[in-house]
Symmetry: C2
Subunit: 682 residues, 2 copies
Amino acid sequence: MRAPNRPVYGYPPPMPTRRELANVLRVLAMDAVQQANSGHPGAPMGMADIAEVLWHDFLKHNPANPRWWDRDRFILSNGHASMLLYGLLNLTGYPLGMDEIRNFRQLGSRCAGHPEHDLSIGIETTTGPLGQGVANGVGFALAEKLLAAQFNQPEMPIVDHHTWVFCGDGCLMEGISHEACSLAGTLKLGKLIMFYDDNGISIDGEVRGWFADDTPKRFEAYGWHVQTIDGLDDAAIARAIRAAQAEGERPSLINCKTIIGWGAPTKAGTAATHGEALGVEEVAGARKKLGWTAPPFEVPSELRAAWNHEKAGRAAEARWQQLFGRYRNAHPALATEFERRMRAELPANWPDTARAALAAGQAVTASQATRQSSQAMLNLIGPALPELFGGSADLTPSNNTLFKGARVVTPQDVEGDYLHYGVREFGMSAAMTGIALHGGFIPYGGTFLTFSDYARNALRMASLMHQRVILVYTHDSIGLGEDGPTHQPIEQLNSLRLIPNLTLWRPADATETAVAWRAAIEHDTGPTLVVLTRQGVPQQARDAAALAAVSRGGYVLADCQGVPQCIVIATGSEVSIAREAVQRVQAAGKRVRLVSMPCTEFFDAQDAAYRESVLPAAVTARVAVEAGTTGLWWRYVGTGGRVIGIDHYGASGKGAEVMKKFGFTADNVERAIHESMQGSER
Amino acid sequence: MRAPNRPVYGYPPPMPTRRELANVLRVLAMDAVQQANSGHPGAPMGMADIAEVLWHDFLKHNPANPRWWDRDRFILSNGHASMLLYGLLNLTGYPLGMDEIRNFRQLGSRCAGHPEHDLSIGIETTTGPLGQGVANGVGFALAEKLLAAQFNQPEMPIVDHHTWVFCGDGCLMEGISHEACSLAGTLKLGKLIMFYDDNGISIDGEVRGWFADDTPKRFEAYGWHVQTIDGLDDAAIARAIRAAQAEGERPSLINCKTIIGWGAPTKAGTAATHGEALGVEEVAGARKKLGWTAPPFEVPSELRAAWNHEKAGRAAEARWQQLFGRYRNAHPALATEFERRMRAELPANWPDTARAALAAGQAVTASQATRQSSQAMLNLIGPALPELFGGSADLTPSNNTLFKGARVVTPQDVEGDYLHYGVREFGMSAAMTGIALHGGFIPYGGTFLTFSDYARNALRMASLMHQRVILVYTHDSIGLGEDGPTHQPIEQLNSLRLIPNLTLWRPADATETAVAWRAAIEHDTGPTLVVLTRQGVPQQARDAAALAAVSRGGYVLADCQGVPQCIVIATGSEVSIAREAVQRVQAAGKRVRLVSMPCTEFFDAQDAAYRESVLPAAVTARVAVEAGTTGLWWRYVGTGGRVIGIDHYGASGKGAEVMKKFGFTADNVERAIHESMQGSER
């Protein structure tokens, strides 16, 4: 205990000290965890002074309007310290009542175990999976810098806010912290300020046994501005924040030496405070040590008054509104565009753009890799959608993600719409989520489909938060050829489809690619994956009904007269193989229907009548064809159906030879059609 | 071009220079890529001098016996530079003929696009997904250090070899490089020496626009020994290697300034040499520039002679065999044990140990979390299996992975059998694969099931290489409760099952946990995941037949008289819920069978007769129950069946309440049984 404590009651009440204000956070955290008998008191108790100084003196926010566009963004990357954030939100005046805190970690409480994205109460992003808040923060800070470059005018900095990140040892051990912080240093995100809770303790104990990094030196190597301070000393914290804000160019790391569970009389400084309730006795001891006499969940009024930020917050936003008013007068078109962007409304002419893109897709006649079709789409929609912000994890020429006329962001010039993210799939994906959460952008980024593995939990987090991020995954099957099994996706298609609230499109040709891109842009309640071939695929003929139905995710691409004897379902590059087989069997007088299924999620979301019209229950002879695992297709073909897929690893060789070797041929599909018809006739 | 070139022909042939030897690698790489019209010439051409010096003067290996236990391990983490490795293997005398190199990247060639683990030709690990070779290398070096501590005796260092890693910009941008290298520095893996191909170029161009790290400083922050040299200067390379070897304590980074595609007359130093053939003209120009007159795939005899390492390799191994002979004389029991470990033979008494563990599992009567059952198993098998090397990604007290009597490895004392890997799921998993590849160990490591997402591609690589690594994934469903949706697995169970050659066990109680652990230890052709509950589950009664059948992965746990009217399939914590429902329906006079399916992979691998005996095709009324996505279960229940699962995210609350909220109740299973029976009667 480095600071004197004195009782907070007494008449007249003295002005609360900073330490007393911080202690409110400590007591709320330990009491809520104790009541739930579940949670993490240690980090909130160790970081309370930092939080108090930041939120009281520096954070630009308005509890009455958590959506204020120019607010500072605060991210608790060590999300297990959730009670710290709930305490801050409650105390400063967000609509998060003490009843919610009393119900911490109970079903229905907004005070969930880990913070869950909810702007109505000021939670900027969902955290808990370590390191990802840091990468989200890099995305937030990048979005701010990009948007400022695009919209700010002399004397009118309408975009001018900081991104503040709290993180712990776990975040900095995770690899994603390297990817994100290396990128942030390179891009000189000077308004990103991160506080490292350097308490030397993680769940397994004292970290020096497994994490001996010189972290300040590591961040200097990334080009960051680094300070090391006593994280329990409010004056030092304030000084460090001022220095970090004064540093215009480099992102800042404030390395805060703290004591986990500070205030707990016997457990402070130990892993015992990390992830469980302190226990009744230890809580009582902490109350005594902190000089706290109020009962659980009661905050003395003078402390509450000192914490409240509603008036200051309103004033802060009012100043900005005044600025924005002047901006609107001076630059009306820009102001309108800024509002459109921040409201996430597509441009008025977007439907025209989308139609033109579709027409362009339909006009393609030659065989073309869908990654090239995608490039052509981007060339059309990129210039028409200023909010589109692209990139690739160092596979730009392979992913075909750089559209014609796109301007590349560099460390020297941030006014652009494309970023070379480097070989950092996870960091890119989580940063993209941060960009989407910030607002003003629709981010897309490319890599090979196989390397979605590297970024998987970022996709999950974007899905959980319903964020519009678009991943362009090329090289989508063994058809990629020579790079071999390490690069050939097998399980990825189906395993990505399993992520709730994520949409995967695997178009068969340029037309379906156009539809996929339109769906990706318009689908604003979750991530979309646009999954594309490396190799050329033929263009599919389709009638008006088929064309209109592509956007339903699954549709009849080629039909027969009368009730089909068999239905073939195919996706992506396998549609053309399936079509050839279907044509042969039709030519032999059999009634076979071909269904193209570029997006199972959209198809499943159609009404029952439509689904029945495409896949009539009465037709049980069915064949699914996809160059990926068979697992999920049994649901569509039934136990008696056939699935032509691949449930083992691929091989290095010419793409066409590899496809043939593993059975993706019209001959094989034809055989399966006959087998399934025989099976269902039995 | 920094060194003079002179023709390599002439009589009498002069002794080849080092540069001339290196140029063989360059020419082979550019010619093979040109012939395949696919591949990566740039990195082999840039790193050829480093490779030549290392393999010629330092690498301890015997091309005639690529399995020699005390060989140095060489890892090409930048696996796209595969032609460099193939050239080295061919030239030094491994059984990798020039015909294979001629067929580089063609179906059936052992010279695949990326190196594929194959000890018969000296390929230590499969690489390509960037950064993972680095983490494999950390595992190799750790295994060497552990094994040396366990077996070496004074004057008899039978385990004494280096781990050499080549890596590029991509590897060092990837987050896993941070996780692995931070751990390696902490653990003082002094015999790990890494060469960084610092050529400033990645696929998107000059890396300074997206990767501005001061990499030497970064590695100093990890506690590494760091040198920066001209990677085209053989003398500097040799000096740096000697200094790295002299450094006993810290791992070494040799930061090699190189030029990508060195030797190509117009494209050297540019991204154009990275990932495609140079083109006929450029290849011709390079031949001229390098003074190379031999036709493609022909190596002049004096160069081949100078490269050949067969004699020196045999001599090196013979010296070791002599040492090992003395060791055997002095320490016969240790020598026998060392041989057993390196041959990956389980101890003779292992079946007894496994039987005792099973008996202990059966003896449990009280409700118990399967993570606790697993801890009890580990307490029994850990001390009996010296090759078992455990750990956790900083969740030891939650994963219950530290067995009684285990000795923890520390930076100061490496003689142990448990490692705190830190919050580094990906690094841990890939390092474990390296440990398994090295030989002498069966590694296991724990984290929460959800965070398998972070390590997914490492699981894939271990599966692709058929390595025995065991992942202990606790907190396996929404039943974990308060930590909420970020921590509650939903899609993970099914998405992991999709990875080819990976085995997932989700035991229902202590008995099934014992069987799962035995299977994990004995399954030596791929990774096993042992997936465990956080919450308590009741113990299941089973007869002798059921007990004997657990190891088949799926079996009849509770049967009815006669042909079942309905079959219920359940896994893990849902087995007890399903059993309660089955008992109720049976009590109401219906014939219902309960199948426990802890391991779908093992069940699927049974013969058709066994599978039919458990799931008779005639019984179409089926219900599957698992607290995960429904996706894969349709294959087992058919289109008309029912699946009780969860296809959306969970919620923070008490585990039992969350399970109930989302329908994992006996009532709900009972309802589904009735529905499915009605459905199939129609």
